[in-house]
């Protein structure tokens, strides 16, 4: 079998690279992350004639410098894997800027070919591009494409196949351009030294390494220091020429290098490649739209409306399929309960596995709808405008304009979910702002916390329910923003990432592209549910089940059940009840005993012991053992808070949607005061994100941050709860 030809796809963000990749590979692609980092790695296979082609989608970059992870990944891939061809997808309407990356790819020696994409937009701009001439001048294949409509895709694939075949096993021939009288002699001197010592020459061309030393590229400098002694000589040469340039020209070598690269590009474009129709510059449709969508007053109003609409679409539309999944898992729950004999195995399968995984998979419809909407906003270009409009506010709190979406989805408008919210933070390219966003987004009032708030507000603030809920949401926002400000001044310190961002022209996204995006992200989530989350759900089940009640207590409850049954029967006889009424009375008195047994079992379990052990500490915030267990369970999923409280108040399982009986029980408990309620609400709002969120945080950043998030939010939440409880108890 022939080895497939490897073709890498490189290009600027917004040039349509992903659309080209999707159009070529369709559904035959798989997505993962590069080991250890969250930069997406996409691959797909396709056959062209009788050859198999393997397409690798490199992350979108403007350049091959080593500042962002994307750039490092793209560069290292090319240097280490040496693909047989590199398709560089360019935005033909911003050709000059896009060719900057081409020059860098050529300097690395990669067998580049160009796909001049969005030719239709270029024409709308009034640009005339002579692609044949460009091909001749740069001596590489150039294909014109409109990836959105599929135009030029077959030609591109054919040309790429041929180009790859020709370059297979061929040596890379790096492009040499002049960097002027100040730098050229130094580069020559450095190249001599590099070639003499064979310094890094197995990875990079000698001239390329020399230029990187002049650009003070940290990644290469570090590799160099480990590779050999020449590194010192090179660094020395670079330092001297840098000083010279600064004193004579008041410029850094890297600025000079950039100037010459753009000079090289413009000299090519001026040789008849790029010309402009001789007519008044058109006002483009995109600019017209922007005049409305980013207008000072109308812009923000539209933005709020769009965000609100997405939110509604996600949670209103998502409710229906979520209901189906709930019924499906309810059915599995009942079926498993009836098939398996009573006992531990049944409890494990039903409460541990089915309910645990069901709780997680129940979110899948929400995640799909939300990512579909986000894909639309991203692919259409609107998301960049949202970041543009909100950056000023978010930057003040140490965040980035793009942090808004994760916040809203996590429950910025009460009722969201932090899991898709944290995943939405992927759109943030700057690592520090991303971590700050991911760590604070779970403070929002997600849909699982809401039932707790509704229950407590109903009991303690019956006349001001809406206001109280609104204030809780506001508290979530305040905590998130203030905390991120604090985090950005302490553990995630550092200057804000530059907001040098492209506003891409508005485009109609392709339905196929949005579906692929949505499915990629959803599948990630589902895979997680099957592994880590299943394990934790079983662990929590075990905590709340073991150790089981000692035999003598079980016997005691059995006796109580018998007595209750006898009493109920006697009472029914005395009151002369019908058979049905008798049955109902017996069942309810048996349920009473079962609930008491469940309460006793919960108290006896490890979870109950943890709850009791925590009482001396948590009593500062007014929490008793019942609340403690509920909150421990709430770590698995906040929905569990209410159902666990039900068990601990010997009410059996309580439905979070219908917690009337629990409300009565809380109202009649003299130890449960308004101060307790407020402290509890504060704690539930702030304390550790649910486990699914923690796993998601770990996936998007790393486990260190996930554990940090769990610890610091629990501490902040507890301190806040203590302050509120003590403060309110005094008055």
């Amino acid at each position: 079998m022939q080895k497939p030809l490897v073709i890498a796809l490189a290009g600027n963000p917004n040039a349509g690279k992903t659309t080209v990749f999707n159009a070529i590979t369709g559904a035959r692609q798989h997505v993962g992350n590069y080991p250890g980092i969250t930069v997406e790695r996409k691959e797909g296979c396709v056959t062209c004639g009788d050859r198999k082609l393997q397409l690798v989608d490199l992350p979108g970059t403007y350049s091959l410098t080593a500042y962002s992870q994307e750039e490092v990944v793209a560069r290292e891939y090319l240097a280490d894997e040496r693909p047989d061809a590199v398709i560089h997808v360019l935005n033909a309407s911003a050709l000059e800027r896009n060719l900057y990356l081409t020059v860098q790819l050529l300097e690395l020696g990669a067998p580049v070919m160009l796909a001049l994409n969005v030719m239709d937009e270029a024409r709308a701009h009034g640009w005339i591009v002579d692609s044949e001439r460009l091909s001749k001048l740069l001596d590489l294949p150039v294909v014109e494409t409109i990836a959105r409509t599929g135009k030029g895709m077959d030609e591109l694939l054919a040309a790429a196949g041929t180009h790859a075949q020709e370059n297979q096993n061929a040596d890379w021939k790096p492009l040499t351009i002049s960097y002027g009288p100040d730098l050229d002699p130094v580069i020559a001197e450095m190249v001599d030294a590099i070639e003499r010592e064979k310094f890094l020459t197995d990875r990079y061309p000698a001239r390329w390494t020399a230029i990187k030393y002049l650009e003070r590229d940290d990644a290469v400098l570090e590799q160099g220091r480990n590779a050999g002694k020449v590194a010192e000589t090179l660094e020395d040469l670079a330092r001297r020429v840098a000083e010279h340039c600064r004193t004579t020209l008041n410029m850094d070598p890297e600025a000079i290098i950039a100037d010459y690269r753009y000079g090289f590009i413009s000299s090519i474009l001026k040789q008849g490649v790029l010309s402009r129709e001789d007519r008044k510059e058109r006002i483009l449709l995109s600019d017209k739209i922007d005049r409305v969508l980013t207008q000072r007053l109308v812009g923000p109003i539209i933005m709020v409306a769009v965000l609100f609409a997405i939110y509604n679409l996600t949670f209103v539309l998502g409710e229906v399929p979520m209901g189906w999944l709930e019924s499906l898992f309810g059915f599995l729950h009942d079926t498993a309960a009836s098939i398996l004999p009573d006992g531990l195995l049944q409890s494990l399968v039903v409460s541990g596995v089915i309910d645990g995984v069901g709780g997680v998979l129940g979110f899948v419809p929400l995640i799909m709808i939300m990512f579909f909407c986000i894909s639309f906003l991203e692919d259409s270009g609107y998301m960049a405008r949202v970041a543009y409009m909100l950056d000023k506010v978010f930057n003040f709190f140490g965040l980035h304009g793009s942090s808004v979406m994760p916040f809203i989805i996590s429950g910025g408008i009460a009722g969201g979910c932090a899991v898709p919210g944290v995943m939405a933070a992927r759109t943030l390219r700057s690592p520090k702002e991303k971590i700050a966003t991911v760590l604070t987004a779970p403070f929002m009032t997600c849909g699982a916390k809401l039932p707790v708030f509704i229950l407590l507000v109903g009991v303690f603030f019956p006349t001001h329910q809406a206001l109280a809920l609104f204030l809780v949401s506001l508290a979530g926002w305040t905590m998130a923003l203030v905390t991120s400000k604090v985090l950005r001044c302490t553990v995630i310190r550092g200057p804000s990432t530059p907001f040098v961002l492209e506003l891409p022209p508005y485009r109609m996204p392709t339905f196929r592209g949005m579906c692929i995006h949505t499915w990629e992200r959803t599948w990630h989530y589902i895979k997680k549910a099957g592994t880590v989350i299943l394990a934790v759900s079983i662990l929590l089940w075990a905590l709340m089940t073991f150790p089981s009640l000692p035999q003598d207590q079980v016997t005691q409850f059995e006796t109580m059940a018998e007595t209750a049954q006898t009493q109920a029967l006697a009472e029914a006889q005395a009151q002369n009840l019908s058979t049905e009424e008798t049955d109902a009375l017996v069942t309810s008195s048996l349920d009473d005993v079962a609930n008491q047994e469940a309460e006793a079992a919960l108290l006896h379990s490890y979870a109950g012991r943890i709850g009791t052990a925590l009482e001396p500490v948590t009593s500062w915030a007014g929490f008793d053992w019942r609340l403690n267990i509920a909150l421990v369970g709430g770590f698995a999923a906040k929905e569990v808070v209410i159902s666990t409280l039900g068990t601990s108040y010997s009410l059996g399982e309580v439905d979070p949607e219908d917690s009337g009986s629990l409300a009565e029980r809380i109202e009649s408990n003299p130890n449960f005061t308004m101060a307790t309620a407020v402290a509890l609400m504060a704690f539930v709002l702030i304390y550790a994100p649910c486990f699914v969120t923690v796993v998601t945080i770990a996936k998007e950043t790393n486990w260190k941050w996930a554990i940090f998030s769990t610890a610091y939010s629990t501490i902040i939440g507890f301190v806040l709860a203590v302050v509120l409880y003590q403060g309110l108890s005094v008055t």
Partner: protein
């Protein structure tokens, strides 16, 4: 002539100008250059965000945004024709 050169922050919406000097170093400097903002480039301020910051520029056929405090490092000379 040199009196005409001032930082990009002061440029009004709709004004075209040519970039003269860029005094940003490090990551910001590199990002700005990677995006095609180098001396000699013609730019036009096409808008400001609702809170006046960031600013949106048109150059080399695409739209770029940056914050005002980043624009401070970019010195431009307004083009006569646009006044």
């Amino acid at each position: 002539m040199s009196e005409q050169i001032h930082s990009l922050r002061g440029l009004a919406v709709g004004v075209k100008a040519e970039v003269r000097r860029i005094e940003a170093h490090g990551e910001l400097g590199r990002r700005i250059r990677d995006m095609g903002l180098i001396p000699g480039t013609e730019i036009e301020v096409i808008g400001r965000a609702p809170l006046k910051d960031p600013v949106a520029l048109r150059l080399r056929g695409f739209t770029l945004t940056l914050r005002n405090n980043e624009a401070d490092f970019i010195y431009v000379e307004p083009l006569a024709s646009s006044n």
